[in-house]
Subunit: 219 residues, 2 copies
Amino acid sequence: MKILLLHAHPEPKSFTSALKDTAVDFFTKRGDEVIVSDLYQMNFNPVGVQSDFKSRANTEYFSYLKEQMNAHINNLFVDDLKAEMEKLKWADFLLINTPLWWSTFPAILKGWFDRVLALGFAYHPREKLYENGVFRGKKAMLSLTAGASEQAYTEQGANGDIMKVLFHIHHGILYYIGMDVLPPFIAWRAHLEPRETLEKYIENYKQYLSNIEKLKPLF
Amino acid sequence: MKILLLHAHPEPKSFTSALKDTAVDFFTKRGDEVIVSDLYQMNFNPVGVQSDFKSRANTEYFSYLKEQMNAHINNLFVDDLKAEMEKLKWADFLLINTPLWWSTFPAILKGWFDRVLALGFAYHPREKLYENGVFRGKKAMLSLTAGASEQAYTEQGANGDIMKVLFHIHHGILYYIGMDVLPPFIAWRAHLEPRETLEKYIENYKQYLSNIEKLKPLF
């Protein structure tokens, strides 16, 4: 399997980074190929701007979507963006390793999707979406660290059902581009847990990864 | 009323920017005070990093949350962050004017929340949250442009119920910090509509804004 691992944590010694290392180890040992896009380490720019394009279709009015389509047709994406697009095309499995910040991706990770999932390249409205999406046949999965307990993320809990919270990512991003979205792995309130709980999470994560071929997609 | 208007669109001539201008005009004419944080124009950095803090509690291990708390206690936030925090404290009403990109905020706007809603300043887990939130008594509202039709954002539509999509913002961010979250104003597929439909949206938006005192919060 070819795996693109997106990683979004600024501290290499963090537990979120340990989960990333665990996945890299796990897949490498199994003989899979892994490419890591470590967004903080890459100093990834998350803001889609005019300079994403080697030249512009319209320099009077900036429509990011129209420039994306033009760049897709005329091969005008700047090199760092093109590199991320090539990784995504190459991969069978997109593994997204991140803390949940404010119920969604940290900005640096959100911006990867804003810029890399360009119109034309990653979707065509009313043509290539969802079950007809561009990346049909690829799998995607979230590997998350969450700041609150599992109980807090239930329908009765303070934060609401975690699957409702994550719907905008699972359905609105990953399924939208045609991927099979696997159920997420989540380490709850890891920043407050003792070392032994964290070690158990690492073991559970390896177990989870060894089973992903059998997981049923969410949609 | 004191209004902080967050605006996140790179093109000043866009329809999203016209909605921003409409709100500024509307409130100013009524005698309200409006401050606009135009994030693209400000070249706002959305990535929370070490340099958010004038000095660090721990230079060996970077915990963004712990540094936020330390900076809150010891007044160590850099000036551009502090300025945004002061605007938020000042405002009675947070109006968020943005396109919906990938079912959520563009990265530049997500990063405003990552960085400005600092631990200690904007929330204290298990103490100041939701109905006991720091910003109780303030209102918040989304003013959105969406790429698809209203029908597509229903339970039966391709994208699912818009309120489910927006739950992570409404509940996970705005209600979390204690705000009264008003129902959003949404202009559907504005980029595909003719000028007369857009003019009608502008009129509807003024009507909507004239009625916000009577709107019932979502939670």
